[in-house]
C-alpha cells in the first residue's frame, strides 16, 4: 500500500510538471494563477498521500495550513490588480 501511495504521489507530481506548461505559455496572468491554484490542490493531495505513505500524521496539519492559505495568493492578486484596473474604466463610462 505504501508503494501505491508513493506511486500515486509521483503521478500527481508528473501531472503538475505537465501543468507547468500553462504557466510558461500563459497567455494572461489569470491563466498562470490558475495553475498556481492547481499546484495548491495537487500539493495538498500529495501531502496527504505522503502522510499515509510515511506514516507521518503531522503532514496532515501541513496540508491543512496549505489549504487555509490557498485563497490568499489569488485574493491578493485580484485585489491589487482588479481594483486599480476597474477604477479608470468605471470613470470613463
Amino acid at each position: 500500500m505504501q508503494v501505491f501511495y508513493l506511486l500515486l504521489g509521483a503521478f500527481l507530481l508528473a501531472n503538475l510538471a505537465a501543468a507547468l506548461l500553462r504557466v510558461i505559455r500563459g497567455p494572461g496572468t489569470a491563466d498562470r494563477l490558475m495553475t498556481a491554484q492547481l499546484f495548491g490542490t495537487t500539493g495538498v493531495a500529495v501531502l496527504l498521500l505522503l502522510a499515509e505513505a510515511m506514516e507521518a500524521a503531522a503532514l496532515r496539519d501541513t496540508a491543512l495550513v496549505f489549504v487555509l492559505l490557498a485563497v490568499l495568493i489569488v485574493a491578493a492578486f485580484t485585489r491589487t490588480e482588479g481594483t486599480e484596473e476597474r477604477r479608470p474604466a468605471g470613470k470613463g463610462s
Binding site: 501541513t62 492559505l69 490568499l72
Partner: protein
Amino acid sequence: MNPVAVGFDGLLALLILFLAVRALTAPGLQQPVILFIAFGLAMALAWARMRAPDVALAEAAIGTGLLGVLLIDSLGLFTRSKSETPPQPRRSRAASILAVGTTLLLAGGLGFAILAMPEAEGLAAAAAEKLGASGVDHPVTAVLLNFRSFDTWLEIGVLLIAMWGLFCAGGREGFAPRATEARPGTVLGGTVQSLLPLVLLVGIYLLWLGKVDSGGAFQAGVVLGAAGILLRLGGLGFPDWLRPWLVRTLLLFGFAFMLLVGLSALFAGAAFLEYPPTLAGPLILAVELAATLSIGFTLYCFFTYLFDLRIHPATASSES
C-alpha cells in the same frame, strides 16, 4: 532501497531545480513570481519527504502564504504603475555563457563537497537524551525554545528589526490612516467571514500542538498573520483602535517578553534564558504565546505596510 521512493524524490528534485532555473530565466515578472510560489510548494513537499513536518509547515505558510502574497502584490505594482518597463537590452552571448559556466562550476564543486562529506553523528542523540528535562515533548520545540532559545529569541528580534527596516525604507514610521473601501457582499468577503474563525482555530491548535508534535509559535503566528491579511484583502483596513503605542507594543511584545524571562533568570542566579526545570513547561508556553502574538502581528504589518505604501506613497523628497 525502494525504486518508487527514489523515483518520487528524483522527480521532485528535478521539478524543484527546473522551477528555480525557470523562475530566474523566464522573461517578464509574472512567470518568475508564480514559478517561485510553486517552488515554495515543491520545497514543502521535499521537507515532508525528509521527515521535517515542522519545516514543511513553516514553508507552507511562508512559501505559498506570506511571501507569495508580498510578491504578488509587488508584481501588480511593478507591472502597472508609471510607464511599462523599458525593453531591456538583450544580454550578450558571452555574458550568458559566463553565467552558465559559473553556475555549472559552482554546482560541480559544491556537489563534490557534499558527496565527499563523511557521516557525522549530529545532535539527535544529545537532544533525545535531554528532552526529558526540557519541559516539552517535541524535540524540535525543545531545541527552539529551550536548548537553543537564544537563537529563537534573536530570530523574533530579526522580525522586529525588519519591521523597522520597512519603516526606514518606506520613509514613514507607522501606518497610514484607514485606507480602504469596504466592499461587503462580495464572495471574497463571504469567504473571509467563514474562513476567519477557522483560521484562528487552526492557529491556536498549532500553537497547542507544538508542545507534543510539529507546530508551535512560528507556524501558529504565520497562520494568525494570514488571518489578518485575509481581513485586509477582504476590505478591512488597519483598524483605528490600533493606536501607535499599541502597534509598537504588539510588535515588540514577543521579543521583549523573552528578554524579560531571560533577564529574570539572570537575577535568580541562573544563566541567561535558563528555565528552572519545574517551571520550564509553563514558561515555554507563555513565551510561545507571546511570540505567536508578535510574529503574527508583525507578518500582518509587513503586508499592510507595503499595501498601504501603494496607496499612500511616502512623502519623502526624492532629491538625487
